[in-house]
Point group: C2
Chain length 275, copies 2
Amino acid sequence: MTQVGTRTAGGPVDATAVEQYHKHGFLLLPPAFLGEDALSRVAAVLPSALERDEVTVRSVYGVHQTEPVIAELARLPRLLHAVEQILGDGVYVHQSKINLKASFSGDQWEWHQDYVYWLQNDGIQRPDLVNVAVFLDDVTEFNGPLTFIRGSHAEGLLAGTDADGMPLGYEDAPAWVATLTADEKFQVKPEIIEKLASRNGLVSPKGPAGSVLFFHPNILHCSAPNISPFRRAVLIFVYNSVSNSPHAVPSPRPPFLSEPDVIALQPLQSGTHTR
Amino acid sequence: MTQVGTRTAGGPVDATAVEQYHKHGFLLLPPAFLGEDALSRVAAVLPSALERDEVTVRSVYGVHQTEPVIAELARLPRLLHAVEQILGDGVYVHQSKINLKASFSGDQWEWHQDYVYWLQNDGIQRPDLVNVAVFLDDVTEFNGPLTFIRGSHAEGLLAGTDADGMPLGYEDAPAWVATLTADEKFQVKPEIIEKLASRNGLVSPKGPAGSVLFFHPNILHCSAPNISPFRRAVLIFVYNSVSNSPHAVPSPRPPFLSEPDVIALQPLQSGTHTR
């Protein structure tokens, strides 16, 4: 954490935008931030990334481990430096996934915070992570956008706790598979959601394919199903600070859910893309 | 239909707005159109209208038959004359309902057109009806608004038909109960929905409680579930032209789904509200 000063100043995102992120818990940047080239590289590998045994899957994890083009995107200098500005540290990708919200169907995700899963399942001690969602399709009000309660990240951990102070549901010690379903294990009470939404307001960041949405691991969010005829695919990198690496847990999750290699990413050199 | 001229001219809705309705298949008017008084009267009877045996129901039909305050709203002069302007005829309420989209849950309704149900189930020969949705709560992008394909009413009947030219599913002669579920019986092919949505665009009319949304019985529409912490209750009147009364059908639906009394409504006299 000694490099906070140099990492946060003079990066690709201006200071006001970084402040907005910390205030509201999210930040949306237009497609120009990544550039057209980055988006088209990912679009080109999307079919292979999403196909398993000739079946198109709904979500796929560990894409930074299996797809060189996606590993390179995680190291795109502008993106990597923006993440370092936000976290004030060297960073690596703890988890990555593509959520393919198919037209006419795509699953609803209930209200939840992300960080509690990384704390409980992966032993990550501080919420010094950031979600980066790269829109692979246009995201509109109609195709199930992420919906946030503005500023709710500032409330800290909101999931219900049992008498021993453990988050609700943790006493069941489920297999890691249970961490991937749309039914949330760490539920926040409806009255808390209603109170925060009434006070702070709801917001659904929308934008064309290639837009980049940074959001805090403690922001309360959900997404409606995609009832529209248009797909809504999103690539998500969960960057973690290298000084916040996972601690030992009783039942570690597999590497495609919890990256074991905690090594600060280095910016991709220009001209070294996979062809 | 002899009175078209006098009914469409000089009414409470200006000619441009009526044109917009016929072009796009819907028209949204602000709360000032009905007035605060009308909304608060309905709000006052909402709990009793929605409660059956001490259980709050999700939808309730026939409210113009059971709730005097709602029967009176259907005859509110501005509203009644606006409907007469749109249909160019004397009108009555063929069906009414309150859809209570509860917070955190309220059902999703798949893409469908309304008119085919009134044709097939109730023997209504022409699509000379109009839906009037009175927003009982604020309708936002977050609480499952109605979503239309702009102008799709102009395409006529789009539901799949079998070899005999009958709409898909009709051959099963279901009980009327089947007409009330969120699973649509008369399905429009996904490729048709996608083509029309791409060409014409999607739109979700939104507005504060008291807003009034007129929409055509043949407009393609759907609504997402209500994942937000805020209720989205809507009162819907389906007005029909008196010259378009139901014909005999093999299995008539009960009166609360298909009004048997086809008598042109008369405007409510001022000062005659139920107290």
